[in-house]
Symmetry: C2
Subunit: 205 residues, 2 copies
Amino acid sequence: MERAIPDIVVGRLPHYLRALQHMSLEGRRLTSSQELSERLGISAAQIRKDLSLFGEFGKQGTGYQIDYLLNQLRQILKVNQIWDIALVGAGDMGSAIARYQGFTDRGFRVVMIFDNDPSVIGSQIGPFTIQSTDELVVAIQSADVRIAMLAVPAANAQEVADMLVQAGIKSILNYAPISLNVPDDVHVQYIDPVIHLQRMTYYLE
Amino acid sequence: MERAIPDIVVGRLPHYLRALQHMSLEGRRLTSSQELSERLGISAAQIRKDLSLFGEFGKQGTGYQIDYLLNQLRQILKVNQIWDIALVGAGDMGSAIARYQGFTDRGFRVVMIFDNDPSVIGSQIGPFTIQSTDELVVAIQSADVRIAMLAVPAANAQEVADMLVQAGIKSILNYAPISLNVPDDVHVQYIDPVIHLQRMTYYLE
DNA sequence: TAGATTGTTAATCGATTAACAATC
DNA sequence: TAGATTGTTAATCGATTAACAATC
C-alpha cells in the first residue's frame, strides 16, 4: 500500500492553493518555493518536500508555473469541482456564512439552510428558504450532500451533528465552541475564535 | 533562561480550558487526563505532559479538581481578566462577530468597531457606533487596546493590518482569506472556512 | 555558459507515547 | 489496603531542515 500523506501536509496544501490563486489573479506566471516561503512563513524546503509527495511540479532553475501548480493542487484537494454544503443554523453567524461570497471560486457553495426556530423557518436568506431541522436528514440524503457547516448554539451542536451523520454527511465544519463526537469516517474541523484569541493572550504581557 | 513552552502546547491549552469550562457548568468537580483525552481526542499522556510544564495540578489516584485547574489555566493563558478587542469590518461577518455572545465568559469583549464605508459609519451595532477607519489608529492607541479582529475584504486586509500595527495592536485574529505581513512581535491567527473545507475534501471520494 | 532552483537524501530536531514509580 | 491516577523518564516516532546533485 502507498504511504499515506501525513495529515499535517494535507493541512498545508490549501494554504499553497490560496497563495497561488492570489498570484494568479495578480497576473503572475511563475513562482518559486522561495517566494511561497516568504508569503506563507513556511520554509522553502518544506514546501518543496510537501509538493514532491504528489509529483514533480516544478522545473530546476525556473520554479513552478502558477496556473499549472494551481490546477494540480485543485485536483489533489478535489476542489476542481464545486461541492454542495448544507448549513445548519440561521442566526447571526449562519446568516453571515450564507451570504459569504468567498466560497464559489474556491470549490464550494451553500445549497440548503436549516434552523429549528419556527420564527425564521420559511424566511429567506438570499436565494435560500430556511428549512426546518426536522427535514434535515431527508433533505440532505436526497440531495446527496456530503459537507455541512454547523453554526448552532453549543447546547444543540452534538444533537445536530448526530443528525448530520445519520444523513450521510462526511465532513463537518463546526462553528459551535464544543468538541463533537462522530464516527471515525466523518471528519470535523473547528472554528472557534476564542480558542485563537486565548492562544494569543498567552504571549501578551 | 527557562525553557520556552512549545507553541504547539500553548495551542492545546485553550482546548483544555474549554472542556473544563463545560464540565464545570455541568456541575462536575473532578476529572482525569483519561476523561479529558476522550472528550478532546488528545492522548492522556500528552495532556498530563502539557500540564506538567506549568506545575503539578493533579493528585495521584484522584485526578484534577476542575475548578482549580480551570483557574490555573486561566492564569496561564491570561484570561483571568477581560481583554478589549477592536473589530475592523462591519459587513456580514463583522456584524455577526459584534453580536456574538460567546466572548465575555471566556475573557474577551469587543469595545470598538470600524468600517470604511460611509454608508454604515455612525450607525449602531448593538451598543456600538461604527467609527471611520480614519479614526482607527488614534482610537486604539488612546484606549490601549492590544487585540484586533479583522473582518474586511482580502483586498484591504494588509492595509488595515498595517494601521493596526501602527496603533500598537499585538494580536490579530484575521478573517480575511490572505496571509498578513506583520512585525515579529505581532501575533496573527487565521480563520478561513475554505481552508478547513479544502482540508476535508482531500479525504472525500 | 553561469545562475537559479528543483527534488531528494540524510541529519537533526522536536513531539508523542509507553511505562512505571510515587502516592493519594 | 487495593485501586486509581498523576508526574516524569526514556524510547519511539515523525516532522523539519540543511545540503547538494541534477538540470533547466
